[in-house]
Subunit: 197 residues, 2 copies
């Protein structure tokens, strides 16, 4: 118990490492996708999940338009693509998923784009939103869920290698840091405008 | 993209592995503590965090009484104690933290109990709650945050070994499964009434 004060602007980093999900949404002829680490399940029945998104993100506006969205789990081998999605604004692209090399397919339950490389996906209908300080907590009702063979009752972690976000570093250049459960680290250089979450 | 349908009752498990926090609260002469994995930061400024708790938990009632609570990060070496806290009902004990061997100290900003063995702690004032299906999302405003030397700008993962919850298994007996980022696994047998989250 040798604690020191933590700057209130950094307290969200105490929650790291966290598995990022990629939120996908199609609206108005455009496909968006952003990694989100501020997320949680919220209810067993009905199955509800929440994701906190800054309202200035293009993804937020698109979800409010589409009234639906996808949730995608990419494994550790896709650290680079997930990092790049976090570093690009959806406002600049017709299909942001394609820019990083992901293949978008339409979910049957929602018509929303899903990432075909994902280990698991949810299709959610927009259910509610709550304004909480700087962010909107978007509550989604899960209409359909799918996963590859690595998920049965639980994830088979001998086969599924989850991606974990651990922060950024600024050695040579600013980079995202991703970890696995297998003592692996990948850093993905930030190109642009993303904030150092 | 060889996906199969996932039972809606299991979709929260797609979010695993997740770092559990222990929610601590003192009310009416009693000290409660429960591990929570349905949590997320919610806002930078003011610093807000959310934790989804089933309202039948003693912890929920105590938070509503105390209008405050603590959030505690225990590292991988405390897997057993965190698992045991998940397996006991706070209704049965005056000091649930002491039952598993944790030392409770009072936070200066809130008067709420904190776990002295924790790597980091938050003291939160109750801010809001939203009913979401089976759970209540409790929103806490962070009044104070402290961490040990392993946290500066971010966690130093060369030193801090975070605890990650990965589900349960039922080989010999039902057990919680915890993982680290260093390819370590610990299983903690469930004694009692906890559900297999």
């Amino acid at each position: 118990m040798a604690w020191k004060k933590v700057n209130p602007a950094r307290i969200h980093r105490l929650f790291y490492p966290q598995v990022p999900v990629v939120i996908t949404v199609g609206f108005n002829g455009r496909i968006g996708g952003m990694p989100a680490i501020w997320h949680t399940p919220l209810s067993f029945k009905p199955p509800l999940i929440g994701v906190a998104i800054a309202p200035e993100h293009a993804t937020h506006e698109m979800i409010m338009g589409a009234k639906a969205f996808g949730v995608n789990w990419l494994d550790f081998s896709y650290a680079k693509q997930v990092g790049e999605l976090g570093d690009l604004s959806g406002k600049d692209f017709v299909n942001k998923l394609a820019i990083v090399g992901f293949d978008a397919i339409n979910g049957e339950a929602s018509g929303q784009p899903l990432i075909s490389e994902a280990s698991a996906v949810l299709e959610c209908h927009y259910s509610d939103r709550y304004r909480v300080g700087t962010h909107q907590l978007i509550v989604g009702r899960v209409m359909a869920a799918k996963a590859n063979d690595n998920f049965k009752e639980y994830w088979n972690l001998a086969r599924y290698n989850p991606l974990l976000y651990a922060g950024t570093e600024s050695r040579k250049r600013k980079s995202w840091i991703f970890k696995s459960l297998r003592d692996e680290t990948v850093t993905v250089p930030l190109r642009g405008h993303a904030r150092r979450n």
